[in-house]
Structure formats: structure tokens, C-alpha cells
């Protein structure tokens, strides 16, 4: 069957995405949370997740977290592979190493921190680059875009299904409980005033929760058209900025999840035209 689809510029996107991932790894380094910086954690948290169980039964997180030199080697290999993916995007070997590396790092970090985190943008986005040919990469990239849309739509549906949306004070209670360790220290400033206002005005705060649910649900538009992607992206960004200011949830790791909604064709053409002018 012949197709008339425009393929995504894989090398161009790969360079930017792996640069982005590299910045995330630098953030991990700066915050002392690469494997070798965790000071050999002693407790493990497999939770009730079967994939985590499998990893622990295979002894993977325990081995990596309890052997400093192995952890250091792991960090070096992961970071080097990521850098290689920036400079040599048309290969599969180092992409595999990077993808496996970030997933293993995620398993180890979660088990050491005692909680399984939902900051997964840096895990999902690099997967598309396992396809080297542009035709196959384009399919994976689109698939990733649908996956991202699905995740947020499901988050919105869960809020409807479990009743958070219909409740009258969920947002103010979430804000209060998430900031419990911060409130005694925060007596002034606009962030502190805003958070206190949210806690003390549940009806007002709940409309933010509902707006966030609608932002989540709006991603369903992404299943039917790409024309609204920039608005969906703006909605997602606002959602995460709101989370950051009200709940102190950073989205550095999650930020890579925005990538499939970005206008890559437009940017590639722009850079191509600059190159042509040179």
C-alpha cells in the first residue's frame, strides 16, 4: 500500500530529545539522585507492582543500589550513551542502552525512595527512537503521542470515576495535606498567600481541580486531530505549572512527555531554511 504521509525528521528530533534527556540527567546529578549518588540505600520498596516484583526477584535494583562501583559504571554508561545519541542519532545500539538505562534508573530510584512515581516522561519519549528508519520512527512517534493523550485522558476519567471532580473540597484538602511540612515555614510571599487562600476557600480551589480535570480530558481531542496540539500543550504546561506552585510537584522528569505534541515539522523546516540561507 502506498502512503502519502510526511515522515518526522528523526535525526533532528533525536538530537533535541537526547539533549533534553541529558539535561534531565544533569538535574539528577545536581540533586544527588543518580544511582552512584544515593549512598547505597538499604531498604527496598517493590510495592504491589508486578514489574517491580520481577525486577526485585531478579535482584536488579538491589545489586545496582548496593554496589558503588557498579552504580558508578551504570551512571557513566547511561550518560555516555545519551551523549552518543545526541551526536550519532542514526543508530540503535546506544538508544537501546539509554532506554534500558533510564528504566532501570526509574526502578532503582523508586525502590530507594519508597514510592512509585508517576513522573515518566523521560521513560516514554526515548522509546520512539528505537526505530531507525524514518517511516517506522514516524509511526512510533505518533503512537507515543496517542499514549500521552491516553494517559492524561485516563487521569481525567479517574477523577470523574472516583469522585474527586464532584466533591466540594478535594482540592483544598490536597493542597493542605501536600503543604503540611511547608506551611509552618511559609509566612509571607505570594505563593504562601495563594496556597493559604486555596486551603481556606474550598469552593474556589475546587474549580481549579475541575479545570485541571478538563485539561486532562481535553487531550481526547488529540485522538482526532493534530491541529489543536499547541493548545493541548499549553493546557498541559499550565496543568504542571499549577501543580508545581500549589503542590510543589516538579515536572523536570515529566517534561519530556510534552515532546510528541510539539510542532517538529515546522521547526525542522525552519532550521533547514536557516541552513539553506547559510
Amino acid at each position: 500500500m502506498t502512503t502519502s504521509h510526511t515522515y518526522y525528521p528523526r535525526s533532528f528530533i533525536a538530537r533535541i530529545i537526547f539533549c533534553w534527556l541529558f539535561v534531565i540527567l544533569l538535574y539528577f546529578f545536581a540533586t544527588g539522585s543518580l544511582l552512584s549518588q544515593m549512598q547505597l540505600p538499604v531498604t527496598i520498596y517493590p510495592g504491589s507492582d508486578n514489574s517491580f516484583w520481577l525486577m526485585h526477584i531478579l535482584n536488579v535494583p538491589q545489586f545496582l543500589l548496593r554496589h558503588y562501583l557498579v552504580a558508578l559504571l551504570f551512571d557513566i554508561v547511561l550518560t555516555s550513551s545519551c551523549i552518543i545519541c545526541i551526536f550519532v542519532p542514526q543508530q540503535r545500539f546506544f538508544t537501546w542502552i539509554t532506554v534500558i538505562g533510564v528504566w532501570v534508573l526509574y526502578f532503582c530510584y523508586c525502590t530507594a525512595a519508597g514510592k512509585h512515581y508517576a513522573q515518566i516522561g523521560y521513560l516514554l519519549t526515548p522509546i520512539a527512537f528505537l526505530a531507525v528508519k524514518e517511516a517506522k520512527f514516524s509511526l512510533l512517534w505518533e503512537l507515543l503521542r496517542y499514549w500521552v493523550c491516553f494517559l492524561y485522558v485516563s487521569a481525567g476519567l479517574y477523577k470523574l470515576y472516583y469522585g474527586g471532580f464532584a466533591d466540594g473540597a478535594t482540592m483544598s484538602n490536597i493542597v493542605a495535606q501536600s503543604n503540611a511540612d511547608w506551611l509552618p515555614f511559609a509566612h509571607s510571599g505570594w505563593q504562601s498567600s495563594s496556597i493559604r487562600y486555596f486551603i481556606e476557600n474550598p469552593g474556589f480551589a475546587q474549580w481549579f481541580y475541575r479545570a485541571a480535570t478538563l485539561f486532562d480530558l481535553a487531550l481526547i481531542i488529540g485522538f482526532f486531530t493534530k491541529k489543536a496540539d499547541k493548545w493541548l500543550l499549553l493546557g498541559l504546561l499550565s496543568f504542571h505549572v499549577g501543580n508545581y506552585f500549589l503542590l510543589h510537584i516538579s515536572f523536570v522528569e515529566q517534561s519530556l512527555i510534552f515532546a510528541p505534541l510539539m510542532p517538529w515539522h515546522k521547526w525542522a523546516n525552519y532550521f533547514q531554511s536557516i541552513k539553506g540561507n547559510d
Binding site: D49, N50, F185
Partner: protein, 176 residues
Amino acid sequence: MFIKRLFYEWRVLFWMVLVLILAQLFFMYKGIENVPFFLYHMYAQPHGHKDSATVLLVKTENSYINNKTFSNRQEELLFNAAGYWLSLKSSARDTILPVVESRFKSRMPAAMYARMEQQLSNSSAAIDSFPAWWSRYFYSIRPQTKEPAWLVQTRVSLNPPYSKSPQDSILFTISR
């Protein structure tokens, strides 16, 4: 339509995606967490009002360290891990064991089951050495802390003026 395009252009991926979609729906229906089948239900349930909350803080001789001066990842590694350690410490056996038991005890040979239990749970030695690890990690990210420090558990009122209880319970001394 994308799925039709996938069928014609990359048949293997098409079938894989179909299986993954079914698996995702199955896990969502059963409410089972299975990475990479993420269940994005954070903050989806109604949260009731609480008058106060238990928090963990680092206490120094003259004050307390604001947890938000740590990065998100440091805060998670320090305080979530400490919360989990507290739950392990207060239980007679690892909190994961009843779940392991219900899923696998009658379904595999005893030796294999024992090995699985060992791999998925924390030994008492690991639980006992947690304060030493915590202190090591704390000083690796806060080497400038010179004065004596303690990890304490306390309560914070969730009603104005959101004050901290004057009573702290010391969990351990953060030793260099």
C-alpha cells in the same frame, strides 16, 4: 486512521499495540499496577478534611530545616523513604509479605516461594541500618550542616495559622 495505517505499514507493531491496549484495559479494570501499564489515578479520590497532619522534619539545635529547600528528588529520597521505613519498623513483618502470600504462596514450590519472599522484603538488618544510610545521604547533599541534627516526627495543624506542634518525637540522630 492511525491504527489502519499501522496495520498496513508495520503489521508486527499493530498486533503488539493491540495486545498492549487489551493489557492496559485489563489492568485498569483490575486496578493492578504493572509498569509500563501506568494507572494515572493520582489525586482522583475525594480527600477529606484533616485538622492536622504528621510530618517528618530535620531538627537542628536552634531550628528546623524546611523540607522544600531540598529538591523534589532529594525530598522523596529522604522523607518518603523515612516514612516507608517507619511503616516497616512499626509492623511485625514486612508490609509486602501479606500481598506476596496472597498472590503466590499456594502457587509455587516452597523453596522458590521462600526465595521470592526474601527478594521482595526487607530484612531486620536492613531496617536497622536505615538511619545510617539516611544520615549518609543527608550529609552527602547537605555537607554544610555542621551542628547536630535529628530526624523528628511531629504534627502540623491544617487550620490557620498552620502551626507546628511544640512536641517532636525524635526518630534518630543524624550522625556523620
